[in-house]
Assembly symmetry: C2
Amino acid sequence: MYSSKDIQDILNQKFSEVKWVCEPIGLYAPISYVLSLGGKRVRPTLALMATNLFSDNIIDALNLAIGVEVYHNFTLLHDDIMDKAPLRRNKPTVHIKWNENTAILSGDAMLIKAYEYVGKVSPENLSKVLPIFSKTALEVCEGQQMDMDFEDRTAVSEDEYLEMIRLKTAVLLAGSLKMGALIGGANEDDAKYLYDFGINIGLAFQLMDDLLDVYGNPESFGKQIGGDILCNKKTYLLINAINESDDSQKDALDYWLQQDGAENPHAKIQAVKELYNQIGVKNLCEQKMEQYYEAAMNCLSKVSVSQEKKYNLTTLAQQLMYREV
Amino acid sequence: MYSSKDIQDILNQKFSEVKWVCEPIGLYAPISYVLSLGGKRVRPTLALMATNLFSDNIIDALNLAIGVEVYHNFTLLHDDIMDKAPLRRNKPTVHIKWNENTAILSGDAMLIKAYEYVGKVSPENLSKVLPIFSKTALEVCEGQQMDMDFEDRTAVSEDEYLEMIRLKTAVLLAGSLKMGALIGGANEDDAKYLYDFGINIGLAFQLMDDLLDVYGNPESFGKQIGGDILCNKKTYLLINAINESDDSQKDALDYWLQQDGAENPHAKIQAVKELYNQIGVKNLCEQKMEQYYEAAMNCLSKVSVSQEKKYNLTTLAQQLMYREV
């Protein structure tokens, strides 16, 4: 059994060994750049921890781990083009630093690279994990499409929103756990419990992201506070604010939704935040997060390995959930 | 042994059975649209014919065949965004019919779908073909990157150009043949000869495309005649025209390269075509094509199956080469 620190070290070592830049430079330099921006490497860590629940041989899972991390960063690269995002992890995005064509093509190459790593999994495990990887990867695209579709719609229900974040965010955490578990030799039941653990953690994690956008610490959040409010993003908070508001609150909310955030961003953010507080959606969101977190822990408890072995995953889940608000 | 017609029928049947459109429609409708535009299905046909050289069981190869065709159409979709192409097979491109974000995301989903189909190949074949598929897919991206890099350069050598078209066009034909052969049970030598057959046919095919752009029949070519000339594309013809021209021809060529094709497209096309004829690059290009075609046939002759069994591939190669000029 490895400690969390061991797993991070093994992962960092493996990442540092990969030579990302080859010819033509124009194709590969952006890939190296994106992967060098860091991030918490949550998905590969989950994959390795899941393998390690069932086996001390995590070598085979390392290729999967690299694959899921490269895949995740590919989605960020292409999402940033679609969202016209200028910054990612406080650095210029690829389509800004290079150009849009480079961002499209390097992203494509990253997706292929992700599959190349997953493909290095030993043949006996490959036929188990490859269909899960493809299914998961497609679902993430479906989630991104739903997210874009929601921008053009006037109303989005809470259920639709939860389904969108399940696809866009949760399935990759869940899939990483399930694939890792299967490589470790888990049975189908345990693999399924870990998948469901990942879905619930993923949903809680995304709700926390919605909260942090409004209530986060500007210094530690890494993105602009209030970004979702400025672009009227239909988050869990906004959807519930619309549903739960009384008539006067609804009028006030409608007023601010019609104000272009560019003119006086601070005023819009403050006003909407004040309405969120009045309507009580912060509390609602925290309750929903807690529900998912408990459901996650319940799923993890069903996995047929000792409580002791689950320590790494329990701790990681806590860290993901209780980020600074 | 199947006839060419049998193989086409089996392939069309398989394509028609696939349900491309699911939810969310916004993601999958463009995929169905792109695949419905047709095309000659050259790559999947090559894959199936290669399998059929060695085995009458081509069921397993059908998934590979779908995978390579979906992959090829994915590259067309994303290349059309990068080239800002309004039409593909005389129909609006996805980024025109929908929008650019849809074209990016649906393309991503197509690439995943391509892998999903390749992943359906039986486990004993999967570990043989998956690394070839990934390597080939990456090389196609490298070729596209080189093609874009060449646009910004003043000079491109003949060798650099041939390497670019090898990657952008030839490796996918070659890879389809090699993967198909391996699924059929070919030994490494035969798989390699078929790969080299594909590379040579691919290079000849692309040179024919360069020729058709200038000398093609406007009705059967499907693209605008002279498109490469108007945008000063560094094709085999232009690169050799620059290399082989005398001083006065070079001055005339330089003059026309500096003319914006938009103002008087017909004059530019006629003048450059006239220079090509004077310099003799049509002839040069035809000679090079013939060399590659002969090299291809030489590779095919080394494959250790009867001449009779090679009939389908020989005929297909002829059809690809001797399109109407």
